[in-house]
């Protein structure tokens, strides 16, 4: 056998060629895995879920508890009002938009946009931030925004604006206790007590809301 060296070289070439499909297969497998992983981590839906920041929720809880504490301690209405007015704007502004995002029926893009705006509010806390939310509401008709504005303006003592935003909320959803209560309370603050009572009575008649009943009681008790 004289051609053994030639045969050996030929075999090396053959062996290399035989392995090509294996290498291609391996490469494709790695590529596929990478694509799959990338798709998993870049999934906007999953990212949104992951992006829900716990600190914001905690802030909301803290705020709620402090309000409840104030009520429980039996502080007078004037004091309560004073306290409500004293609650820092930032604290309230920080909480609401992020907390209520879960209930949003808007598309993902809108949701992301809102989140950014909410963060802006945290940073600025000025009236410009409210304007941003107002503009966003006119585009999205999101009751989370309108209710947030109603609450914020009421707490700042801007009752006319609070009444306006509560009304906007009621137009979209007629069964939100908080919105009707702010609406009635804003009316009362502007000196339209009877109107506020009528509003609450009408709402209680329609929904039987316990919260509305309590508010009505507190208003009538002041007489």
């Amino acid at each position: 056998m004289h051609d053994i060296k030639v045969l050996e070289e030929e075999w090396i070439r053959y062996h290399r060629k035989k392995r090509v499909p294996l290498y291609i297969g391996l490469f494709l497998l790695i590529l596929l895995t990478c694509l799959l992983l990338s798709a998993l981590y870049n999934n906007p839906f999953l990212k949104d879920d992951a992006g829900k920041e716990t600190p914001n929720i905690e802030q909301v809880t803290t705020t709620t508890v402090s309000k409840k504490d104030i009520t429980k301690k039996g502080i007078s209405n004037n004091d309560s009002q004073q306290l409500e007015d004293d609650i820092p704007t930032e604290a309230v502004v920080e909480n609401i938009p992020v907390l209520e995002e879960e209930q949003s029926k808007l598309k993902e893009d809108t949701a992301n946009k809102r989140k950014k705006l909410a963060l802006n509010i945290i940073e600025s806390s000025g009236l410009d931030a409210y304007k941003d939310v107002e503009e966003r509401f006119f585009k999205s008709k999101d009751i989370d925004d309108s209710l947030f504005l109603a609450q914020s303006y009421y707490q700042k003592g801007m009752y006319k604006k609070a009444e306006y935003w509560a009304l906007q909320t009621n137009k979209i959803n007629t069964e939100i206790d908080e919105s009707w209560i702010i609406f009635a309370k804003s009316k009362m603050k502007q000196g339209h007590k009877n109107e506020a009572i009528d509003i609450l009575k009408e709402y209680i008649k329609r929904t039987g809301s316990e919260k509305a009943k309590q508010t009505l009681l507190s208003i009538t008790a002041k007489q």
Partner: protein
Amino acid sequence: MTSRYEAAKSVFVDSIDIDDYIELESSLSAYNQLLGSIEKPLKMILLFGRPGTGKSILLNRLAQNLKYQKEIHYFEIPSTDKREFFYKLFKVLTKKDLPKNTEVNFSALVNYCKKLRGKREIIILLDEAQMYTPQMMENIRLIADSRAVKFVVSLHQTEDEDLIAKEHFQSRIWEVIELKNASFTDFRDYVHKKLLKKNFFEIANSIKEREMKKMFAFTKGNYREANKLLFTIFEICEYYDKNEPSKINYTHLPQRIIEMAGLKLGYIHA
């Protein structure tokens, strides 16, 4: 220095020597079928299969085994010349040589055969029958019609040769025996038995199942191809054994050597 592989490769030199015959399940079945057919009152028997399926060795074995029991003649090399064929036939039938400067009269030969009916039963085994011309095949048929001579015709199974078979024989009384390539089990047994028959136990043992499968895949179970492949494998082994012993594993025949043999014989390409 002689190598153990030198003798091992000679085991696989292609031959139809009866001593090289390996008893396998499939070949035994074909042999018994052929033996049974010969006992039947058939004028012609067709044995066909692809080249390398063991037709020649089967005919040879039959001729060897029955030579003392029957008047059997094995025409191993086909006669392409009509004269030569009739001369051979004359000698078989009359047990005499044809006188010089004379030719066989075919009609007289057929009449002679008819006279032999009931007295003698002559069996003629025609190997490589595809080499005979259609005219010669027609003459063979006429002699077979005398019922004194029985022909076993071995044909290669290719499209053209099948056509010859159809044209000349299929309308006659026939028994058809088909030989096929070996199954994997038969192939493995064939390789092992061939080596063990010549006392190459260690070499036979060094061919493991995986390597055997590779060889079977290359040869598709064809005995002639198997002989070629194993001859080449042991030729490569012999070279390494003599020149580069580090490249050979004596207890396990490497796949590399089988693939090298496959490359050399054109079963695979680089």
